[in-house]
Every structure is written in C-alpha cells, then in structure tokens.
Amino acid sequence: MIAHSLSQELEQRGISRRDFLSFCASMAAVLGLPETATNAIAAAVDSKQRPILVWLEFQDCAGNTESFLRASHPTVADLILDTISLNYHETIMAAAGSQAESALEQTVKDNKGKYIALIEGAIPTGANGAYCTIGGRSALEIAREVCGGAAATVAVGTCAAFGGIPAAAPNPTGALSVADAVPGIKNLINMSACPANAENITALIVYYLTLKRWPPLDQYRRPFFAYGKTIHDNCERRAHFDAGQYVEAWGDEAHRQGHCLYKMGCKGPATSQNCPVVKWNEGTNWPIGCGHPCIGCAEPNFWDTMTPFYQRLPEVAGFNVGRWVDPVGLSLTGLTAAAVVAHGVVQAVRHKQHVKSQSGEDKAESE
C-alpha cells in the first residue's frame, strides 16, 4: 500500500487543499449526500489505505475507457486513479505482451481478495472462447481468474453489465454479461450505460472509500445513487411532456424550442439513470439537451427492447412521477415480444422473465 496520504501527494503535484475539497463536494453531490458529507469524503479519500485496480477489456469498444478519461475533475480523478494504483489497463499501460501479462498475474497473485476488478466488454462463450483471446487465453478464463480473486468487481458499461451490443440478437458469439459468465463472484456492481458516465464510476469508488461499504443496488445490481430514478423523472423537458408540447418533426419550431421528444421515440420514461442531473463532459450537455431522444442505453438488452429507436413508447401517463414506471416497463417488454418474433430474438424474453422474477409483487400484479 501507499505510504503518503493523498493530500500530501496532491500538494506535491500542485493541487491545493481547496481544489481537493471542491472535488469532494462535487462527489457528494453525485452521490446525493448532503454537503456536510464533504469532510467525511475528504477524510476517507485521503487515507493511506488505497486499493489496487485492474481494468480488463474483453468484447469492448474502449468507450468506457475513453469516458473515464473525460472525468470532470480530471487532475484529481486521474490522481486518485494512479494513486489507487491502476496495475493493468491495456489501452494506457506502457508494457506490452508478456510483460503486460506478468503485471496482471503478479497483481492477482500478490493481492488476492484485495484488489478491485473493473470489466469492460462482454464475455463470449462460443467457439471455445476463441471470439476473444488475450495472450492466447480466452476472456472467460481470464475473467474467472481475475474476478474470482477480487474484493469486488465493477462491470463498467452495458456490455459488461448486461451483454450489451455483442449479446444483441442473434448474439453471434454467445456473449454474456459478467454476472452470467462468472456467476457467484463477490460484490458485483453493474455500472451500465453506453458508455458508463465517468462521474458515476468515480463516485462509486469514492462511495466505497468514504462509507467503507458498497452501495445498495437495484434489481439489476446498479447503485441507486446513479440509477434510482428515470431520465423522465429528472428531465429538463418534463414540463413540456406534462403540457402536451411535443416535437413532431426534426427542426420544427417545437424542436428548436426544446419541447418533449417523446413522440420522436424518447426512451427516457423507461430508462433509469442520472444523465439529466450529472450530464456529460464536465456537465456540458446530454443527448436530450442536444435534441435527440434517449435510446435507453443503461437498460438490460436495450438494443433489442428499445429498438426501433425512433418508435415511440406505448402510452406514458403524465403528472405522476415515479408511479407509472413499472407498468411502462412491462408494456414495453410486451411490445418487444412482438418485435422479438420478427427479429428471432430470444434475449428479450429473457429480459421479461428477468423483470418478473426480480421485481417482486408490484409488477406481477400490474401485469
């Protein structure tokens, strides 16, 4: 573990105590903690005991890696990263080939049960694992070994969390989520979205360092602090939805005036994530903010259940924040069942079963 405290190191790197506290305050905001939590976060992040991270990429596009590089308090977030000791990350590490593989091997061996594994990308099971190999070993074999020895595993992005695009129908490679590929691993947390928002990944790490436990999770193993409400609940255009003011054509007066995108296919009512609050790229913007509907990228199997993207959701009631979400979720999967036949998709059925089995009595009744 590391000898210096983080604030000492930050000072050496020209970052003042004040900058550090302002970072902690913004983390408190993402986590939905009161501002008084700032000091507690500062104390926790500043401690000497910091875990080791390894970041593995399987059937991925590196979009989550890129997203992470855009974290909004970059210098500090980066520092936390390298202070946390990012021992393996193919996209940025200097070593290659056997030297890279031995860095991973060593980390896993020396820190068994102590390190955190971050997984990006789905894990293919077809062709004996030949659809994704690193150093001649299959993704599945590597995942079993690395996730098996981790204190916690974070599935970063929808591919790792739910299978994502490789698992979209007809799932040519037998791609699975981390949860399905390596069942039974300890403390699995799904940080879905395509890509996962950097603020939420950083917030998760800070949550753990601050509160010394992992956050409570929803039915899809996603932390409530980032996935506890729908896009629609927090949308800046919600008033237009409630007032019945909709965009009818791209570039029309309503579109230019920022009216509701529901009729253009927005999946915000069926998607849980904090996009409207945290936004993207240092709070610069978000998809609905630039005039395009939400495509539901944080939801399981959204490539099958949320497409066609420009087809509107079945009836969504207004003036009733939160209450209508479950019925919508169900009618959505019902709708998808029809699309499934056309596509030969089996995944969505699985999604429906998943909803039924995990969401308890409310949904069973409303169905």
Binding site: C61, D78, P124, Y131, G136, P166, P172, N281, G289
Partner: protein, 569 residues
C-alpha cells in the same frame, strides 16, 4: 531464427497480436492477428436502417463518430436523402474535432512511450529542459520551475514503488535515444495533453450531447436544432463557445503537438527509412465543401501506387474486395477469391488452436480480420495516405506547405514520408490543417443563421414509406485511422445486408489468397529488433498506424447463413 509473440499489443484500441520471425537483429516476417470478434453486422440484419448508425457507432468508442458518419451516409445514398447545409457543417466540425483529438491522444498517450523514456526524465536538468522547450515553441508552460515541478512529481511517483500503468515497460532499452531533457519535456506534455483532450472534446458534447458515443446523428441530417433566437438550440452563445474551443485546440496543436513531433523526430531520423510497408496509399477524401450532389472535398480522394507521387488514380468502390484465405471465415464461393462488399458474406468459422494457445498456425488461417484489397492490391490508409494524396494533388495548399516545411526542418526528402516516422509526422500535420479549418465551418453555421436557414434534416425521407422498396448504398468517410466505407442493402424498410470495410482492416489484415501481406505485416519486415524479449521497435512500427482493432473485425452476411441461435437462460 527466433519466433516471437507480442500479445497483447497494448496502447491501442482492441485486441491485437503480432507474431514475428526475428533473425540477425531484424524482423524477417510478421503476422498480424486480431483476436476479438463480435459480429455487429449480423446483429444489424432485419433492423431499421435509421437505427444502424447507433449500432455501428459501438464498433469503436475511441473513434466514436466514424461508424455513425459512414452509416448515415450509406443509408442516405440508398434512400436518396440529402442532408441540408447545417447538417453538413455540423458533421464537418464533428469529424474534424474527432480527428484532431484522436491524433493528439494517439501521439502522447498511445505512441509517445515508444520514443520517450519516462525513467530517463528523472535525471533531466530543468533549466536545460526549459531552454530546449523555449527553443522550439513559445508555449508558456516552459519555465525552469515548471519542469522542476514535473520532474519532482514523477520522481515522487516512481519512488512510491507502485508504477501502476508504467510498470514492466522497456525503460532503459537501447533504442530510446532522447536526452533526459527531451524526455522530461515530453512527459510534461503527456500530462498536459491528458487535460487538453477533455476540454477540446466538449465540442462533441455541444454538438452531440456527449462523448464518447455522440447521440445527435440522423439519417438525412442532424438532431441538433439551430436557431439564434432560442436558448434550446445552437445559437450565438454556442457559436462563441465553439470558437473558443477551436482556438484552444489550435493553440495546443500548433504550439505543443507539432513542435514536439518535430523535436522528437529529429532524434529518430533513422526511422524515416524503416517501416515503409506496401507503398500503395488510398484516401476516400472527406469534408464536403458545398451541398451539391458531388461536392468538392476539403481533403481530396485518390490512390497512389508504388510510392509514385506523380500520379493519382481515382477511387471506384466496385474495385474494393475482401478476402478470407487467412481469416477465420468461409466464403460460399471458396476462399480463393475476393468479394465486393455489396456481395460480401461472412461465415465465421474458427479453425485456429483452441485457447489457451502459444502460437497461431500462420500458414493457415490466423485472424478475425479479413484482407481488403483494391483492384487486388493491398492499400495503406490513414493520415499518411491522406497527406500524400493531398500533397500530390497540391490541395489544400496548406498541406503542401506544412509537409515541405517539415521535410526541410528535418533535412530529409519526400521519400522519408514512406516510413514509420512519416506516419507520425503526417498525423501531426493533418491535425494542424484540420484544426485550422474548423473556424470556417463554425462561421458557415453562423452565416446560415444570419440567412435564417435553420434546416437540419431532410424530413421528406424520414418515413420509410418514401423509400424505394429495394435499394443499395455506400458511404465513404475519412476516419482518424483512414478510409472507411459502409455498404448497405435495404429491402422493404429493413436491412438485409450490411458491410463495413474499415481502416484497421485495410492496414492490419492478414495475407490474402496470393500471399500478399497486409500493410502492418509488410511494414514490420526489416524492422530492427535489438532485444527479442523486449520488442520495442515492433511496437513503434505497429503503433505508427494507430491500430483500432475493434473497428477492424466485423462480420456480415445477411443473406446466406442460418443464424446461430441464442441460448435461452
């Protein structure tokens, strides 16, 4: 003769493996293998073509705009949609920002550590580093104190004993030639570039909602509304913000990136005669300058054969074909012929060794990449191909000016461009040319607003009922890594066939049926290797292409193969 394997090749996007025979201190023969496959085009079958851009976009999160752009262009060509002027300008800005940001990240974060020894930076004299930095640029972060601070920070990091992502690298390798001061300057700029890329890419957040995976593309236009009298549209406030970000980008590229490349290159001139490769260069061209059916392209299209800059051949999509003789696919017509993407088929059939394995059977099939060929010949694509085609075409004039300036400052002739170092220099020159051009497209948007032209979309083709029942289209684009094409076949409003022929497939593909190596393989032959267990030089040449393997591997066949059934949990 030693057989070496480098897997994973790190500091790239995706999963790449290089096997090579090394003899007498140099690579005799090399094999490039991509070891990951998802099958995104199979997944596209039967879907709404208006959704395709979002699917193909997920081919890559690094060059996150490129497959979206190629996809909407292919579908537009098929259904006859014509994006209005604002959409063209928004796309040009998005494409240019992607190229510029990607090139900077590539140089500092993916490629620099092949040339820059971080450990050597620790022994640098900050005062001498300051003198060096000020001799090459007027960039303000160049004082003795500043470099002392950077050195001390790196020192503290190294002394901590946990090198994190910098552990186990080839530090101290004899092929590192920079003096400690140049290493320290480069390390400082590595850190600055990490900050800069976040700021600059806000252009994408403004125009696309977020980065990675922008979400404002539409078949027929763009979803970003334009209206100077609305706070919910692109307006004068956003024009000002874009101008500020472009100026910030220009500042960094012209005062840090380009001078660094020249300074570092001056220590590695021997790499101007290493890594040439196949010697054929192809560019589709990009950045339409007007709204006509056949617009002039800011970066021109063309093909250069056999390093002959005196002739430029035109590009014809019908001459593009893909081969699978050494790829893990079967063709129904046999593996000895190529197929044009409109007739493309992909039946994945893994015949390699069962994982875990030590070596691939390179005499047989050995990659998930196909081998694209133009009129049967391998082509290198990318910034070097684009800059060579522009240089030989004489336009834009700025390219010729910067290429000549670069060559004369290094004291080398045009032949030096055909090399590992040539790729590095071409990328920096292109970043400079593009960041300089962005202001004109921002101004174009403002001019349209002045004329009250707020159109962003060809709404006449939004409804699938307005499309031909059966139509074909292809879309060309210049991605950061080179010429990208998508081919689509649409029937009754749904996709029946979709093909992507991708820059990293052109460059990293395996041998074809005639045994012709791909550009990586050809470029590696002859590359020196001082220490077989530390093949730093192999990384240099491979990284000079900026590999993007997730992009390179794709699969199509919408027509022949019965789809593999998904297992039901």
């Amino acid at each position: 003769m030693t057989h070496i394997v480098v897997d994973p090749i790190t500091r790239i996007e995706g999963h790449l493996r290089i096997e090579a025979e090394v003899d007498g201190g140099a690579v005799k023969e090399a094999w490039s293998s991509s070891t990951m496959f998802r099958g995104i085009e199979l997944i596209l079958r039967g879907r709404d073509p208006r959704d395709a851009w979002a699917f193909t976009q997920r081919i890559c999160g690094v060059c996150t705009t490129v497959h979206a752009i190629a996809s909407i262009r292919a579908v537009e060509k098929a259904i006859g949609a014509v994006p209005p002027s604002n959409a063209r300008l928004l796309r040009n800005l998005i494409i240019a920002a992607q190229n510029v940001q990607d090139h900077v990240i590539h140089f500092y974060h993916l490629h620099a550590l092949d040339w820059v020894d971080i450990v050597s930076a620790l022994s640098a004299d900050p005062a001498k580093t300051s003198t060096l930095a000020q001799s090459i640029s007027d960039w303000p972060l160049s004082s003795t104190k500043y470099f002392a601070g950077v050195r001390d920070r790196v020192k503290a990091f190294v002394e901590r004993g946990q090198l994190g992502p910098f552990a186990n690298a080839y530090w101290g390798h004899p092929a590192y030639k920079l003096p400690p001061e140049a290493n320290l300057m480069a390390v400082a700029h590595y850190l600055e570039a990490l900050d800069w890329q976040r700021r600059f890419i806000k252009i994408h957040a403004i125009l696309g909602g977020k980065n990675p995976h922008l979400q404002s593309f539409l078949v027929g236009g763009m979803a970003t509304p334009v209206d100077p009298d609305s706070q919910d549209s692109l307006n004068m406030g956003t024009i000002a913000a874009l101008n500020k970000l472009v100026a910030d980008g220009m500042d960094f590229v012209s005062r840090v990136y380009l001078p660094d490349v020249l300074a570092i290159a001056s220590f590695y001139k021997d790499w101007a005669s290493i890594g040439a490769g196949v010697g054929n260069y192809m560019a589709y061209g990009d950045f339409p300058m007007d709204d006509s059916q056949h617009p002039e392209l800011f970066l021109p299209t063309g093909i250069i054969h056999g390093r002959d800059l005196s002739k430029i051949a035109p590009v014809d999509q019908a001459k593009v074909s893909e081969w699978v003789a050494h790829s893990w696919y079967d063709y129904s017509v046999g593996d000895e012929q190529g197929l044009n993407p409109f007739k493309g088929e992909t039946n994945p059939n893994y015949t390699g060794p069962k994982p875990p394995y030590q070596v691939l059977e390179v005499a047989k099939k050995y990659s998930w990449l196909k081998s694209p060929r133009y009129d049967g010949a391998p082509m290198e694509v990318g910034p070097l191909a684009r800059m060579l085609v522009a240089y030989a075409s004489g336009r834009p004039a700025r390219v010729k000016e910067l290429v000549d300036k670069t060559l004369s400052s290094l004291g080398v002739g045009p032949a030096a461009l055909f090399s590992t170092l040539g790729r590095v220099a071409a990328r920096a020159i292109e970043a400079q040319v593009l960041v300089e051009s962005m202001g004109m497209w921002v101004q174009g948007l403002a001019d349209n607003m002045g004329r009250r032209d707020y159109r962003i979309q060809d709404n006449s083709k939004w409804d699938p009922g307005s499309w031909p029942a059966d139509c074909l289209g292809y879309g060309f684009h210049e991605a950061p890594r080179g010429a990208l094409g998508h081919w689509v076949h649409i029937k009754n409003g749904s996709i029946v066939n979709y093909q992507c022929v991708v820059p990293s497939t052109w460059n990293a593909g395996p041998r074809d049926a005639k045994g012709q190596p791909g550009p990586y393989e050809a470029a590696l032959a002859g590359t020196p290797v001082a220490k077989a267990d530390q093949p730093l030089e192999i990384l240099r040449t491979v990284h000079s292409f900026d590999p993007c393997m997730a992009c390179g591997v794709h699969v199509v066949d919408a027509t022949k193969r019965e789809l593999a059934r998904v297992r039901v949990a």
